[in-house]
């Protein structure tokens, strides 16, 4: 076989790894009943694929082939280990017996396994940090380093968090299944929190040069779609709407040089109309349920922006009203800040500045760069150049993200002498 053909198979296997490795892993965890065993089996299966597919061709259903191969690789490995550890014998027998049952390999079951994996990774018996780290690792396939960057944590800390979480799943016997109807709403909340965190990690990297990580946002949106298929709860629908509406602005959000462009300066013709249309339909569906929560309300705000032809022509009174409902549902200084900015658009910069100053005086947002950046902007518009300069500098001191820093530096340089 030629070098070229070998290379081609390798590329095919890589592509299958990218598209299917998480599905394969999720199913192997169910079949083998152990995270580490499943991971090992999956890697063995991909190694076998490089060897075998170049002789036998790429199978019709690569994921099913990998699941089956991974499962038998795991049984072989267990059988070898059982020679030295008799206590494993029963497990080998159980796995072998189950392996003859080929049901549950269809596409639908494989998608269900991803949901089982999501609910297990987001189990409330695990700490919030562990839930997010485990979901990013197991469901999204991020590396420990990438997760560490997202959490601004050292990689060994994240690695230890994941190891401990997996051990707890095993030792406390956290089940690998979609929760019962009764537990589902609470369990779904935990999942939505993690999904949105994944989306945000994709939408705006917390530090470093790249502002956006398209694959992760896409993954979060895919998870969101799967979730509303399983449980069309208003907040799951609201979260998907919110992600789609934010995602719709991606192309307009950064300049070709990678600089951040705020909503008011974005070229709205670059907004993705399909995502907006889908997002708006979903928002309406969520709101009409009358059981909506913070995600649906944030999506509704994003929808008002998406429908506006320009900043000036935006329905600011409606946005202020939505922020007020949101503040009642979920009181938070960051939401209060957003409301203040919307008030500035509705009633003028002086009204917004008074609100922001009151918020800063209460102390909660002192270390939040966007509070100082918003304050700087309002001061600039009011001609308070020196105050604007000081606030931009304060904001600059509080963020490490490259594009955000360049944005603030640009605004600083634009201030009149």
């Amino acid at each position: 076989m030629s070098e070229e053909a070998v290379e081609k198979i390798r590329e095919t296997v890589d592509a299958v790894y990218r598209s299917d490795s998480r599905r394969v892993l999720a199913t192997l965890i169910r079949l083998l009943g152990d995270f580490d065993l499943a991971e090992e089996a999956m890697h063995d299966a991909f190694i076998a694929a490089v060897e075998q597919w170049r002789h036998e061709g790429v199978p019709k259903n690569p994921a099913a082939w990998l699941i089956s191969t991974g499962r038998f690789k795991a049984i072989d490995a267990m059988r070898r280990r059982a020679r030295f550890d008799a206590s494993l014998g029963e497990m080998v027998n159980r796995l072998e017996a189950a392996a003859n049952d080929t049901s549950g390999w269809n596409e639908e079951a494989v998608e269900d396994d991803r949901l089982r994996l999501i609910f297990t990774c987001c189990h409330p018996a695990l700490s919030a940090d562990a839930q997010a780290a485990l979901t990013l690792r197991e469901v999204c396939g991020l590396t420990t380093e990438e997760i560490a960057r997202a959490f601004l944590t050292a990689p060994p800390t994240v690695a230890q968090r994941i190891v401990r979480a997996k051990r707890k799943i095993q030792d406390a016997r956290i089940p690998y299944r979609v929760p019962s109807q009764r537990d589902l709403p609470d369990r779904l909340d935990a999942v939505l929190r993690v999904v949105y965190l994944v989306f945000n990690e994709g939408y705006s990297a917390s530090s470093g040069a790249s502002l956006t990580r398209h694959d992760l946002s896409g993954e979060a949106i895919r998870l969101g779609r799967l979730l509303i298929e399983l449980l069309p709860e208003p907040e799951a629908i609201g979260l998907l709407a919110l992600m789609l509406l934010q995602e719709s602005r991606r192309a307009a959000r950064t300049s070709p040089a990678g600089d951040l462009i705020l909503l008011d300066r974005q070229d709205r013709s670059l907004w993705n109309r399909d995502q907006i249309a889908e997002g708006i339909t979903l928002v309406e569906r969520a709101l009409s349920s009358r059981r909506f929560g913070p995600y649906s309300l944030q999506a509704a705000i994003a929808a008002v922006h998406a429908e506006a032809p320009s900043t000036e022509a935006t329905d600011w009174p409606q946005i202020v009203g939505l922020y007020e409902v949101l503040l009642r549902v979920e009181p938070s200084p960051v939401i209060a800040l957003n409301r203040a900015v919307a008030v500035a658009m509705r009633d003028g910069p002086a009204a917004g500045l008074a609100l922001i100053d009151a918020l800063l005086a209460s102390g909660d947002l002192q270390e939040y760069h966007l509070a100082h950046s918003a304050r700087a902007d309002l001061c600039r518009r009011l001609g308070k150049t020196e105050e604007a300069r000081a606030a931009y500098q304060r904001a600059l001191g509080l963020t490490q993200q490259g594009p955000e820093r360049r944005f603030l530096e640009r605004r600083l340089s634009e201030l009149p002498g």
């Binding site: 018996a125 030792d171 406390a172 016997r173 956290i174 929760p179």
Partner: protein, 119 residues
């Protein structure tokens, strides 16, 4: 899998609950335990006497040393335990959620255990 449900309560707070209410809780407890015995979940359990009855022993320089009270000075004290057999953690959590001291401010620690029967 076996789980130990460790039921904790602030003893001083418990004392302040009117006796009639406490009796009601104990009655509910009784019904729950009967239920769990019937379903086959319950393996063992007991109500602990107040923590003032406790003595904690250690070795200090190879010699027995005793201190009055439970090993840790916490706001909540262990007041009882139930050993249950469940399929998984979710089933154990569902059972723990039925413990009648919870609405009054109690807490229940659910811990997976390696249970060995002694013949």
């Amino acid at each position: 899998m076996h789980y130990l449900l460790m039921c904790c309560f602030d003893e001083t707070k418990w004392e302040k609950i009117p006796e009639a209410d406490r009796d009601k809780v104990m009655q509910e407890y009784h019904l729950l335990l009967q239920d769990l015995a019937k379903s086959g979940h319950l393996q063992a359990g007991a109500k602990l006497r107040p923590s003032m009855t406790a003595v904690t022993i250690r070795r200090k320089n190879g010699k027995p040393a005793m201190t009055d009270g439970p090993f840790a000075e916490t706001k909540e004290q262990l007041g009882g335990y139930h050993l249950i057999e469940c399929h998984d953690l979710d089933e154990a959590i569902a059972i723990a959620n039925r413990i009648p001291t919870l609405p009054l401010g109690g807490s229940v620690e659910v811990r997976a255990i390696d249970f060995q029967e002694i013949n």
